[in-house]
Subunit: 398 residues, 2 copies
Amino acid sequence: MTPIDPTDFRDINPGERLLMGPGPSDVPARVLQALAAPCIGHLDPYFLATMNQTQQLLRYLFQTANGLTIPVSATGSAGMEACFANLVECGDEVVVAVNGVFGTRMCDIVQRIGGKLVRVDAEWGRAVDPAAVAAAVKGCRPKVVAVVHAETSTGACTPLEDISTIAHAAGALLLVDCVTSLGGMSVPIDPLQVDAAYSGTQKCLSCPPGLSPVTFSAAAVKALEQRKHPVVSWYLDLSMVRDYWGGDRKYHHTAPVNMVYALREALRLIAEEGLEARFARHRLNHRALVAGLEAMGLAMLVPAEERLPMLNAVRIPEGVNDAKVRQALLSEFAIEIGGGLGQFAGKVWRVGLMGHSCRRRNVMLFLAALETVLKAQGFKARPGAQAAADSVYTSAPA
Amino acid sequence: MTPIDPTDFRDINPGERLLMGPGPSDVPARVLQALAAPCIGHLDPYFLATMNQTQQLLRYLFQTANGLTIPVSATGSAGMEACFANLVECGDEVVVAVNGVFGTRMCDIVQRIGGKLVRVDAEWGRAVDPAAVAAAVKGCRPKVVAVVHAETSTGACTPLEDISTIAHAAGALLLVDCVTSLGGMSVPIDPLQVDAAYSGTQKCLSCPPGLSPVTFSAAAVKALEQRKHPVVSWYLDLSMVRDYWGGDRKYHHTAPVNMVYALREALRLIAEEGLEARFARHRLNHRALVAGLEAMGLAMLVPAEERLPMLNAVRIPEGVNDAKVRQALLSEFAIEIGGGLGQFAGKVWRVGLMGHSCRRRNVMLFLAALETVLKAQGFKARPGAQAAADSVYTSAPA
């Protein structure tokens, strides 16, 4: 038993940051206000209505009519686990395309639940080649084909059209990680016939981390209903979770009431902006950021046509100290960016332009701050970063 | 794709409630303020310090020196699953004492992960008899003996001393559900040699739902380290979660930053009040509530010596409509109480006196409101409820 002096603990006061890392992104004041609304019972009529509205807004964002569209009551990684754990049974074959950390994590999860993993390894920092997926699918009878739409670890975007065709031609369900893409670029669940997808709240939704939006198609629900064995995870068993979020309101767990308030408000902000305007904003700020970085003499990791707008991996120049640059950005400018993950640790920075963080003022401040910090590290940035970014904003938007 | 009109969605505005159900309980303003502090990166030095402080405060509350003491990033049921999934492997024998809904849930989880369930059924609404646990333990070689300290579905308290002795004499680990007891009565993890325990934030901690405090003893950690197979849940695998919360800060998932702020503040409030004062407050208000209810002519479900202070199951009198009473309390007085669960659905009300909700003013208001509502239902409450409660407050506290 540890004695404790409560006066050792001060008020929560994180100060201000500009969050330009791989998430969380800056949370708008309206979302924080919603988060702090009085907590009420999770079976209160007001909260039940709030759940319904949250689902309605999620369907809009996912571009789907899927009934089973809910925020799983845990962070994005739990959404990943929920999708696999509900669709894959022991012995089922699963094709997973791996081009970064999160594809690797998918493989880990598939193996833990006893799935038979067919792994398609692609180069990190590049999109997955649909031909490689097609080849893998030919050699097996997959129940699920899984792919990461937006690899947060590298900034590479894998288009979903061809992989969807390949998966469905093989009779498989298409499972998509859209943790980083949802809310920042189009994730058209119904038009692309995605069967299961999961995301997180702290990326382009600009809500604090804590929930994982998930959607299941009719085919995915059918697979869930036809399982031979119960889902190994009680907490993530969507056959029960959906009775709780659905009309029956059958008690399962206690929903994270205040986080749902916040998610609803974040989604409402997205609906107010409109999907197309929001996606265009992400593309525009991305183009300006890249123009500025390249003008400075820095190089992007991912080829132009495969880049995500909201997650920009920049190669760390020779002789520049990774950690010192990030520390200086944080301590001198209160700007957070991310370091590299996995094989890119120490080799790239990950600069996020997600949701509320994705604004012209932030791009300009970041370019100025990075230039200052790099100078202190002895890196001779070429002049003209600001002018290059400016010219993107003043020319016609993408 | 569902078209949406954002003006259909109004500001979050739940209004005021008095939460006297089985949880969530009323959240103090300081906790809501902490919840709404700016979100920062989950690897930010300020947040890492906040994580450390949260662990320190949790150890104080759990009365433990356990290193592995963390809030699992999901609600209380995920804490239950985390404890079982990390300690039980396929084929391991597990004794579960069942005297309500949450013991039943334990059994479900044990079976999903492949544990060999040895179920000890006790009467619902009563404490578990240690002799029944001893008998069950004799017939097998259990790796884990699991018991619910505070059955939220019935209001029965099962003392842990004898069951701890029985479990350890059999070489088993003791796993305890303290979702409803933690923060409202003593849960002395180290003195009672509890090996694994989980709780929730929305009961006697008076923080919104969304996190599950969990603690593992050295013996439990050893069992985790000696597993033959990986934990089936990636998200809840404490061998990875502890590297994230521990010194290495090895990335696992993104912690729910704002929920951790809120939990830290709720724990700080507990430390300021002091454990003994807090527990005495719960006992006192419980005694006053029961005195008032019994004076009115109502009967408690659980025998006096087996009652929880924070969850009071009251028998619904003959001829009184369960749902109408609860609806009237909510619509006329903005008071939430809980209905019965499982075999007690429609037979009892569950009146919570948890954390911030556990106050004299709330007891007095509730007794007055219930009397009014019952009168409208044709139930003739005996006079004197208020005087009976008053006399508890004015005599010496328990």
